[in-house]
């Protein structure tokens, strides 16, 4: 097959845009943004990683996950526990070897499930695997019983509510409402130095890019098409010989792992993880971001997360009340008028620009006798 130059250019346009974006994010932004802004942007990127996961589960697989804050939180707490332990060990004034909040709660020994998190490798592995395993377990047990749609969404939300109440209630184990914070040290280095923050930012950009590529591959594979089929007609898929349970469980687990990774990166960047960041409302905000960006498009979902979180920082403090009205209105407007989100609007605009004369009419009706069997 010979490839003409314009055709080659069209084929390369996607990858080139992608590489240009990464290069700009890695080389340009650290120079342009002051450290405080760069840190904020890195936080948004963490939410963008979560958004990729939600797009896979919801946009592709039709599983509305109203509890992704739980998986974000599991990843975040795994990292937070390690950072807490590392900082406690590095603190010359702390003679107990226990995190401050445990000392205040009267604990004398480190709880058993905290012990593995002394090692950074265990913590990182747990940040990915624990959310994945939790989602796989929950997903498998409900999907195999054909619980789906709104029921699944509500179960997710109930899980988010229960998880937050657990975190707040078990203060001596989890830090309670305050969560985990005050950890200046990671692997012997200060976390607050500009170098550390730039490094974290670079890692976040690369992780986002890697997960984007992975999920794009998943979407383009047969499995990605199977997910569309399951989303649109789950029962029909069974009569092709597929068991939708494992397919959905895998997508849900992958999605949760992305959220866990986002959470694990978020903690050292933000410097805190607390129940208020992962409950029912934050979880649904993660979904709002994906809806605004475009649930069917990975790039759209990620962009939506960056935009909505940037808007949150800009407006939340100055017009707290107005911002909430705006968020509520955005929910209504996007779902009602633009179910494909910004990604859909961009595509429509691009089509309108490149072909200004063709009206956007549905494809001409097919001649019913064109196809002939035999």
């Amino acid at each position: 097959m010979t490839t003409t130059a314009p055709a080659l250019l069209t084929r390369l346009r996607g990858p080139l845009t992608f590489l240009a974006l990464i290069a700009a994010a890695l080389l340009l932004l650290p120079l342009l943004l002051e450290p405080f802004r760069l840190n904020l942007f890195a936080q948004y990127l963490c939410y963008a990683i979560v958004a990729l996961g939600i797009s896979l589960a919801w946009g592709r697989g039709g599983m509305l996950t109203l509890g992704h804050g739980v998986f974000f939180g599991l990843g975040a707490y795994a990292m937070g526990m390690h950072l807490t332990l590392a900082s406690t060990a590095a603190d010359p004034l702390n003679t107990t070897g226990l995190p401050q909040f445990m000392v205040w709660s009267g604990l004398t020994e480190l709880p058993w499930f905290w012990k593995p998190f002394t090692h950074p490798a265990t913590a990182i592995a747990a940040a990915v695997l624990v959310p994945g395993a939790a989602a796989a377990l929950l997903g498998w047990s409900v999907f195999r019983q054909r619980v789906r749609g709104a029921y699944f969404a509500i179960l997710n939300q109930a899980l988010a509510a229960a998880f937050v109440i657990f975190l707040i209630g078990q203060q001596h184990l989890t830090g309670g409402t305050n969560g985990l914070t005050n950890f200046p040290v990671f692997a012997g280095h200060s976390l607050y130095s500009p170098t550390a923050q730039t490094t974290l930012y670079t890692i976040t950009v690369l992780t986002l890019a890697a997960i984007y590529l992975l999920f794009r591959h998943v979407n383009n594979s047969r499995y990605g098409k199977l997910l569309i089929a399951i989303r649109d007609a789950e029962d029909r898929v069974r009569y092709l010989g597929y068991n939708p349970t494992w397919a959905k469980t895998l997508a849900y687990a992958l999605s949760a792992m992305a959220a866990g990774i986002g959470g694990a990166l978020f903690v050292p960047i933000m410097g805190i993880i607390s129940p208020s960041l992962i409950g029912v409302i934050p979880s649904i905000m993660m979904v709002l971001a994906v809806a605004i960006g475009g649930r069917y498009s990975l790039a759209g979902a990620a962009t939506g997360a960056v935009l909505i979180n940037a808007a949150e920082t800009t407006f939340a403090e100055t017009f707290a009340s107005g911002w909430i009205y705006l968020q509520g209105a955005l929910f209504v407007l996007v779902i009602a008028l633009a179910p494909h989100g910004l990604a859909g609007l961009t595509r429509q605009a691009a089509t309108a620009l490149t072909r200004p004369r063709t009206r956007t009419t549905p494809p001409a009706p097919q001649d019913t006798t064109t196809g002939s069997p035999a």
Partner: protein, 248 residues
């Protein structure tokens, strides 16, 4: 040998008995037409064979295995494929992807995760067989009603089943489309075992050999088309009214 054996199969929904002690034997290579008035239990029978409905009583044996407790996808994997009365294709996927998905059900999960670069030859062959090659890259949503039924048949063939269950494959088709579907059916029947549910008597006369008549959940009679057509009981319950032309 008997490929499918249905033994005293009974299905009840609450007080309503949809199937009442149905016995049915099907040999390898047979083409069986299943007819009966609306509500006779035809679709329930196919639903029960394919695991969509559970038997209240009785057994279904396919190729030496009892199907009663298996789930839908396990039954498909055992070698039974079906189409639906109202065509159910995946509208957002392309025609080729619909067939490819049907052909890939036996792949291992990690094989599904690989990117497909070219269409497998089998998929191309099945598309060609039902005459949808020209439409391969269009979304299935753009197909006409008749084309969707053919796509379903291509998907069914791609599953490579030992027994095919077709639920009213020519319902709603034009005369021209019926003829083509009939020719396709004859061709497939040469190397497959098939049960066809059909209302259309013209179609039946032209393509059927063996016919089983269901009425009120029971098997009324069974035999070749002429015998069945001349059976007074059949005429009474089914053909007795105006001779049926094509269903609207």
């Amino acid at each position: 040998m008997s490929l499918l054996t249905i033994d005293t199969l009974t299905v009840t929904f609450g007080d309503f008995t949809a199937l009442d002690h149905v016995d049915l034997h099907l040999d390898e290579g047979q083409l069986l037409f299943l007819i009966g008035p609306n509500g006779a239990g035809k679709t329930t029978l196919i639903d029960t064979i394919t695991g969509r409905t559970r038997p209240t009583h009785g057994t279904i044996t396919f190729n030496g295995h009892t199907l009663n407790k298996r789930s839908e996808h396990q039954i498909v994997r055992a070698g039974i494929g079906r189409t639906f009365q109202t065509s159910a294709v995946f509208e957002e996927l392309t025609v080729a992807d619909n067939v490819d998905l049907a052909a890939s059900a036996r792949l291992r999960p990690w094989q599904l995760l690989r990117r497909r670069r070219t269409l497998p030859p089998d998929v191309i062959r099945h598309l060609d067989r039902v005459g949808l090659t020209d439409h391969a890259d269009r979304p299935a949503a753009t197909l006409s009603h008749g084309q969707r039924q053919w796509l379903e048949i291509a998907m069914l063939l791609a599953q490579n089943p030992r027994l095919l269950l077709l639920d009213e494959p020519v319902a709603g088709m034009s005369a021209d489309e019926r003829t083509r579907t009939g020719a396709l059916l004859t061709e497939i029947a040469a190397d497959h075992t098939i049960i066809v549910i059909e209302h259309d008597m013209d179609f039946l006369r032209r393509y059927a050999d063996q016919v089983t008549v269901l009425h009120e959940g029971r098997i009324l009679t069974h035999g070749d088309v002429t015998t069945v057509q001349n059976d007074p009981r059949v005429q009474e319950v089914y053909l007795g009214r105006t001779p049926q032309k094509a269903t609207p």
